[in-house]
Symmetry: none
Subunit: 201 residues, 4 copies
DNA sequence: GATGAATGAGTCTTCATTCAT
DNA sequence: AATGAATGAAGACTCATTCAT
């Protein structure tokens, strides 16, 4: 086999990562053995290791990939004009997550929980994850600033606090869905709307 | 003398669970070895195993204990008269969690994330955890009903949806704090209040 | 099994080291697998590892033990009164080595060669080995000084050079015996005597 | 064109062997991986394997080459007229070794130790090495016979014993230099001369 | 002929659990 | 009842060698 093309190389990496992803979801990060992944990938141990030098690297890649998948999914929400109001943003964000999850075999929420847990101990993963969530929150903050400007959000609150609140709601939706499984984006949206409404009086 | 023996037994179980708890937090559920726990407990392997027949049992016990610790902590919020409005409830719930976390060596949030992750694979743990969170959500729901009655919450929303939304916000606060570490209960409260305020007009 | 006695512990260590020694001789340091040693020792993997935490440690122990065995064997030669003349010292040193080698299963020379080779790459082993040979050479040097005083060695040479020469002869005897196997202490002694004799005229 | 092909073939073999040699010295025989050699040679795995069918073959070739290099280096000593006396022979032999060693990247002594060790387990290598050292010793023996005839060596000793003694001294110099690194040919020569001198009286 | 990606048996080591004392 | 030494089945990873292209 002469030098493999870049596309083929990328395809192999994807093939391995997919296998890892599926195993991680089914078994958890630690309970998944390299042998599980190797078997699922249809390659040999040596081949897998030539693409990913360690299990940790594979974990990092799996979580990173799912984070950037999430970013891609969320990007459109930041580009909506006029900018979304908080409750609307939350509704569409959770809907996006729920919809993506529905695709067989790829439960973004499960990987998310596994990643959060792993990040408690894994320096590199934590750094990567913090970088991602911080950037994500910053983007939300920009939307919130725009919402304030557009009088769709009360000016007495900092956009940063609003962003933190929204991120909490999104992460919490992920957690609650993964654990209890009976939460619907519409319900969360209704709840927030109700709080907003009750703010009147 | 079964009485004394029982007390001793309970004390021993607590001693072991404490050791496990500390190790789990520091190292994560899987990276913690039984030997770590045995050494931290100051007992012998045989002794530990006579109280907890397996590592899984210890994990279950550790997570269960921290869940019921949380319940104890939260109980007062359900008993406040007149019942708390949603934003106020959220603020006090997150404050309680943050305050408890501050006690060194017992980071409730870390254990929570570890538990969520483990529950993805561990049937029994998942069932226990679901039972807990469901009951917790039910209690929130009751408060929300009372809030509606007290006109502190818009009547057009179901108390159930409000409860789901609040639980999301709380779990999300836990996740965001554990991962990013820069979130304050006051900020979340401010955010929610702002959403509420913007609901006017 | 309650706490094991110190003697039993030492016996176990010896049992493992013996097994390792035999395997190392038969197979070489690297070709010997831990499994070989484990099987030869009659213990389990875990047991072996609880006494020696790594293969490297076992290699170090095996070489170190054989070096100190050599020291014990050689000690009497330093205590002979009057001190031995160079040729006589060499004859008795090589005889000691040859005699010890004859004991079944424990070829000191083979282990020596394996150790020399390993010391080229293994820092710790090299340091240990250098320490040993340096001390050994110092002791020879003292004997040489005494030989000079006793007019059994020409005063024009430094005792240090004499010691280096003798150590070379001894190590060379070990190497030549291990490789060619047809060298006798008496032959070496005869050769040195002849050189000495030819120094006359 | 078999001629050019043959030359190229030889050049490639040399290129590979050089790479192997350098790696073996730096890392030891077993710690060197085929991949190390392949990378150092600048060729592909397939190419290397087409010239040397196995790692063992490469080890054999590396050791054999260094032995015949040594032979080439030593040859002049056997041709000196009048034949060298024992002490003089030893001095020049060790000087030759030391000088060659000085050329960076090619430490003959290190390869020698590695080879001795490997020969303990590798039948073919042992046979080759024995053949070499035996022939070398035979040549020394001839010089010793000539030395006896020239009255430069005491006639009471067999030339064979003298040869064994000299070979020991040479091998011992190699070992001691490789392990302790502080031995000089002049010191060994001085030591032997002193023994010779002390033989008077 | 050459290439280098792929193979997979084999290596060292760990660790939950047991049970002889 | 308690102890802690022993067990041994995995686990992550390596590397000499092959062979499809």
């Amino acid at each position: 086999m002469p030098k493999i093309s870049d596309e083929k190389r990328a395809a192999r990496r994807a093939q391995i990562l997919d296998a890892a992803w599926i195993c991680f979801q089914k078994e958890g990060l630690h309970a998944t053995t390299m042998d599980d992944i190797i078997r699922a990938s249809g390659l040999s141990a040596g081949a897998v290791y030539s693409y990913y030098p360690s299990k940790d690297e594979l974990i990092l890649a799996a979580v990173t990939t799912s984070l950037s998948g999430l970013r891609t999914l969320m990007q459109p929400l930041f580009d909506v004009r006029p900018p979304l109001a908080p409750a609307e943003f939350l509704r569409r964000a959770t809907e996006t997550i729920a919809r993506f999850t529905a695709r067989e075999g790829y439960d973004l929420k499960r990987i998310a929980l596994l990643g959060w847990s792993e990040a408690q101990r894994n320096e590199r993963l934590r750094a990567t994850m913090q970088g991602f969530y911080l950037a994500f929150r910053d983007q939300i903050e920009i939307v919130m600033e725009q919402a304030v400007e557009a009088k769709r959000l009360d000016a007495t609150v900092s956009a940063k606090d609003a962003a933190k609140t929204l991120l909490s709601a999104i992460l919490g939706f992920v957690a609650q869905s993964a654990i209890l499984g009976d939460v619907d984006p519409a319900e969360i949206a209704a709840g927030v709307t109700a709080f907003a409404a009750s703010g009147r009086s």
